[in-house]
Symmetry: C2
Subunit: 83 residues, 2 copies
DNA sequence: GAGCTTTATGCGCTAAATCGCATATTATAA
DNA sequence: TTATAATATGCGATTTAGCGCATAAAGCTC
């Protein structure tokens, strides 16, 4: 199941959920990704404009990855919600 | 059809292919994304560590989007290639 | 409540992305 | 080849992510 990631906040939320699902602290994720706890905090909360390589390190540490796809308007939404 | 994007170079290549498919120059994409032609060039060639917001602007301009997914080792590969 | 862990925030610093402009290099077309 | 467009590269200036350290704030457990 892929998760849509159109904004820094959405990406931060996805990262945070994945981290908690694994039972890791920000510090643990930071170490695995080669970053600092403060940086993880900022990225999870969309507080700063992360660098691509930071995100790639975080995703790799969480065993996740980016995919690039054509935009879809109604993805993951009930058809009724369109009307 | 999603495209895997694990490295800055892969992302740059995907962006470049999408841009050319639309018949746009780097300058045209840059304007739509609120960036400069030089920046597009650097990102397409993986020459710099782009900012997340720059990538999101570029993807939006191309009508693309990020998705985050669990890593899969053999995606898009023939099963025979594993042996 | 106290004590401990985890997360968020602040400040100065360094490194690097992006800007702005120019120009070189490469590709395309005639 | 020549002319033109597109892309890549260089340099100084500005902006900002991430570092390092400290600490405040929030959660959690007892």
């Amino acid at each position: 199941m892929s998760e849509l990631a159109r904004t820094p906040n959405q990406i931060g939320t996805i990262i945070q959920r994945a981290r908690k699902k694994r039972g890791w602290t920000q510090a643990q994720l930071a170490e695995r990704a080669g970053l600092r706890q403060e940086t993880i905090s900022l990225i999870e909360n969309g507080g700063k404009d992360a660098k691509l390589t930071s995100l790639l390190s975080i995703l790799a540490a969480l065993d996740l990855e980016f995919k690039i796809d054509a935009r879809s308007r109604s993805e993951h939404r009930d058809i009724e919600a369109l009307f």
